[in-house]
Symmetry: C2
Subunit: 430 residues, 2 copies
C-alpha cells in the first residue's frame, strides 16, 4: 500500500492501526541496539585462537627481530604487511602496520598535516587562508567528520551515488577552491550506503584537478575483505591509479583487521607513496619507538597468509549474510511499495542505509528509542550531524542475534510508517 497516495480518511485509518501497533511494540519493553558497526561475539569467537598466540618462546619476526623489545622501526612486521598488501593494493614496502586503530592513523595524518607542510605543500594546513576544507561524501562516516570538526576543517558535502561520490560536483569544487585539502573516501561497501566506487570514479578521483597542490584522498578501505556475496569485489589499486594520473602523493590508504580478527585489539594499516611515508614516519618517530610487534606476530601466526584472511572472512560472511538478508526481508515486507522508504542492499561491509520520507528520520529515531530500540542518531551520517533532508538512518545489523535483529527491524518498520503517516497527515500521531 503506497501511503503517499492515500486520502485523508484512509490515512486516518492507517494512523490508528499503526498507533495500536506501536503501543504493542512499546509494551514489549525491548532493549535492542542497532547503533554501531560492532562485530557480534559469535564473529569474535572466530578468532579464538588469537588470545594464546604467539605462544611462549615464539618471539622472533621473520628477519630475526625480537618482537618483545624496542626497535624494528615504525613500519611494522614485513610479513604482516605482506599478507595485507594484496587486499589493500599497496606494495608491502609502502604499507605500514601500526597499532590497533586505523582511525588513529587517519587522525594523526590530519593532525600532522595541520602542523607540518605535506610533500608538495607550501604551507601547513592550519595556515590555509580562509581555513582548510574537506570534501565529504554524504551520507558518510561520522568518525571521519569528527576529525574534521575537531580541527575546524570545513566540511563540504558531496552527494553519494551508487558508483561513489558525484564526481561532477567534487571536480568542480576541488578545482576552484584551494582551501580543499582532502576528501574522505570509503571506496568499497561504503559506510553507510554500501556503494562501490566504480572504475571511472577511481580514475577521476586520481585525476581530480585539485587547486591545492597538497590535496589528499583519505582512502578508508575499512571493508576491503568484508564481502557478503560471491562477487568478492577486489579493492581498487588507488595508489597505482594516482601514480598513473601524475599524482603519486595524492592518497593515504587505510585498513585494519578490526573486523577481521578482534575489534579492539587488531592491527591498523596505512599505505602511501614513499614521500608521504617518509613525511609521516619522520613525525611519528618523535611520538613512539614503534608499534606493538608482538600483536603483529600474533596476527601473522593466526592469519598465516592471504588465504587465511579469506577463509576467516568467509566464516564472517556465514554469520553476517543471514542478518543482512533478515533486514532486507523485514524492510521489504513492511515497507515495500509503501512509497515512504528506500534502503540499500549492500554487497559487503557493515551497514544498511535507510532513507525515510523527508523530514522523518529524527522522528523515527525518537519513536524507536522510546520503544527500546537504539538507532544511530539521525543526521550522524552528515557533517555536523545535520541531514538537510532529515531522511537518512544508518542501520548496523551485525552485533545483535538474528532474533533480536528481526524484532528490532519490525519495530523500525512500525516507527517508519508511523512517522510517515504523521508527516503525510501534517499532524503528530503520537
Amino acid at each position: 500500500m503506497d501511503l503517499t497516495r492515500l486520502g485523508p480518511e484512509q490515512l486516518a485509518v492507517e494512523a490508528e492501526r499503526l498507533l495500536k501497533e506501536y503501543e504493542d511494540l512499546s509494551a514489549q519493553k525491548l532493549a535492542l541496539d542497532l547503533t554501531r558497526g560492532k562485530p557480534s561475539p559469535e564473529q569474535l569467537d572466530l578468532s579464538n585462537g588469537l588470545e594464546s598466540l604467539p605462544g611462549e618462546g615464539d618471539i622472533r619476526a621473520a628477519d630475526g627481530t625480537d618482537v618483545r623489545n624496542y626497535g624494528g622501526g615504525l613500519a611494522g612486521l614485513p610479513e604482516l604487511r605482506e599478507i595485507y598488501s594484496g587486499f589493500l593494493r599497496v606494495p608491502a614496502k609502502q604499507l605500514m602496520a601500526h597499532d590497533n586503530s586505523s582511525l588513529a592513523l587517519m587522525h594523526d595524518a590530519v593532525i600532522h598535516a595541520m602542523m607540518f607542510p605535506l610533500p608538495g605543500g607550501q604551507a601547513r594546513w592550519a595556515d590555509t587562508p580562509g581555513g582548510a576544507a574537506f570534501l565529504c561524501p554524504v551520507p558518510g562516516y561520522d568518525r571521519h567528520f569528527s576529525i574534521c570538526q575537531k580541527f575546524g576543517i570545513e566540511m563540504i558535502p558531496v552527494p553519494m551515488t551508487p558508483d561513489g561520490p558525484d564526481l561532477d560536483v567534487a571536480e568542480r569544487l576541488a578545482a576552484e577552491d584551494p582551501r580543499i585539502k582532502g576528501m574522505w573516501c570509503v571506496p568499497k561497501y561504503s559506510n553507510p550506503t554500501g556503494a562501490i566506487y566504480s572504475e571511472e570514479t577511481v580514475r577521476r578521483l586520481a585525476a581530480l584537478p585539485a587547486a591545492a597542490p597538497d590535496f589528499r584522498l583519505f582512502w578508508d578501505d575499512a571493508y576491503a575483505v568484508h564481502h557478503l556475496t560471491d562477487e568478492a569485489v577486489p579493492s581498487a589499486p588507488i595508489l597505482e591509479v594516482c601514480e598513473a594520473a601524475g599524482h603519486p602523493d595524492r592518497v593515504f590508504v587505510f585498513g585494519s583487521t578490526s573486523k577481521v580478527t578482534v575489534a579492539g585489539a587488531g592491527v591498523a594499516f596505512l599505505g602511501s607513496s614513499p614521500a608521504n611515508l617518509a613525511w609521516l614516519q619522520g613525525h611519528l618517530a618523535k611520538r613512539t619507538i614503534g608499534p606493538d610487534k608482538i600483536n603483529q606476530l600474533r596476527h601473522v601466526r593466526f592469519l598465516r597468509d592471504a588465504a587465511g584472511v579469506e577463509a576467516l572472512m568467509a566464516a564472517h560472511r556465514r554469520i553476517l549474510e543471514p542478518k543482512f538478508a533478515a533486514v532486507d526481508t523485514v524492510l521489504e515486507e513492511g515497507l515495500g511499495g509503501s512509497g515512504v522508504a528506500t534502503w540499500t542492499k549492500p554487497r559487503g561491509g557493515y551497514f544498511v542505509s535507510l532513507d525515510v520520507l523527508d523530514g522523518c528520520a529524527a522522528e523515527v529515531v525518537r519513536l524507536a528509542a522510546a520503544a527500546g530500540i537504539a538507532l544511530t542518531p539521525a543526521g550522524a551520517t552528515f557533517p555536523g550531524g545535520h541531514d538537510p533532508r532529515d531522511r537518512n538512518i544508518r542501520l548496523a545489523p551485525t552485533f545483535p542475534g538474528l532474533d533480536s535483529l528481526e524484532k528490532a527491524m519490525r519495530g523500525v518498520v512500525t516507527c517508519v510508517l508511523l512517522a510517515a503517516v504523521s508527516k503525510l497527515r501534517e499532524e503528530p500521531v503520537i
Copy 2:
C-alpha cells in the same frame, strides 16, 4: 694517578701507553652497543608467560566487558589501573591505561596543548606570544627534547643536582616568563643521572610560582618500580602535593610496563586531575575508540597485583644489579683518582651518567665508535643535542651480557683517558 697533575713528560708517557692500549682495543674488532636503555633478552624472558595470555576463552574484564570488541572507553581496564595506582601514586580512577607507549601519551598531551587550550589556559600553546617554552633539566632524556623540538617549543636548560633540578633557577625562570608552559621531570632514578627528587624538590615544583596559568609538569615516572637497591624508593605523590599546593591541574604523570614486562608491547599510563583527564580524553576520543584491552587483560593475568609487579622487578634487579656493579667497578679501577671523570651510582633506573673532562665527550664517543663500541651520541642528554661543556655521556648497561659489558666498559675507560690526555697535552694523540 691524577692525570691533571702530570707534567708534560709524564703526560707524553701516558699518551704512548694509552695509544698502545687503544690499538689493542681496536684490534679486538668489537661490536658492542651501550646506546639505548633496552632490557636484555634475559629480562624479557622473565615475562615469558605473557605471549600465551590471556588464553583462549578468557575474554572478560572484571566488569564483564568483552575485551575483544569495541567499547569500554578510553581509560582502560580498571583492574590494571588498580595494580599501578599505588606505584604511580595516582588514584585508579584518575589513571588511564592506554597503548604501548608512554612517550606517545606525552607527545599527544603536548600536541593537544599546542592546538587546544588546557584547563586554566587562556589560549592554545601554539598562540603563545614569542613561542611556548619548556624547562629542561639537564642532563635529561633526548626523546623528551625531541618532542619540544618537533613543535618548535624553546628548551630552557635547568641544571640537575642530586636532589633534582635546581629549583632556585626553575622558580626564577618560571615566575618571570609566561612563555614557560611546561617542564620535563624524571623524578626518580632520573635519566641519565639516577637522581631522586627530594621531598623538598617535589614540594617546590608543586608550589612553583609559574607565570603561565596553564603551566604543566610532565612527570615521567618511567622508573617507578625499577629499583637496584633494597631501599626501593617509593614514587612521590606529586598529584596530591600539587593539589595541596593549590595547583590541582599542574601535573601529567606518566608510566609504563615497558621495562617491567615487554618493551615494545607493554601498557602505558597517564594520571592527572579530573579536569585534565576530561580535556585529554575529550580530544583523544576523536582519535581512537579505545586502547588494546586484550593486552591490558593479558597484563592483569600476568602481573596479578602489585605484589606480582614487585616480585617481577626483584627478578629484574637480580639481572641488572651485577651489570651496574660491573660498570662501577671498571670505572673505579680505570678512572678512580684520575681527575678526568666522575660518574653516578644510581639506586635504580637504566643509566649511568659519566662526566668526562670538559670538551672531551664527543671525542670519547668518536674513539669508542672507531673501536666498535657504540655509545649514545655526546650531547644527546642536552636540548638540541648540545652539551655546552661537552662532557656528559649516557651509559646504558642493561642490554649487553655481563662479559660484553665489562669489555665495552674497559674500552670506554681507555677512550676517556686517551681523550683526556689529548686535551691536557693540547694536541690530538690519534
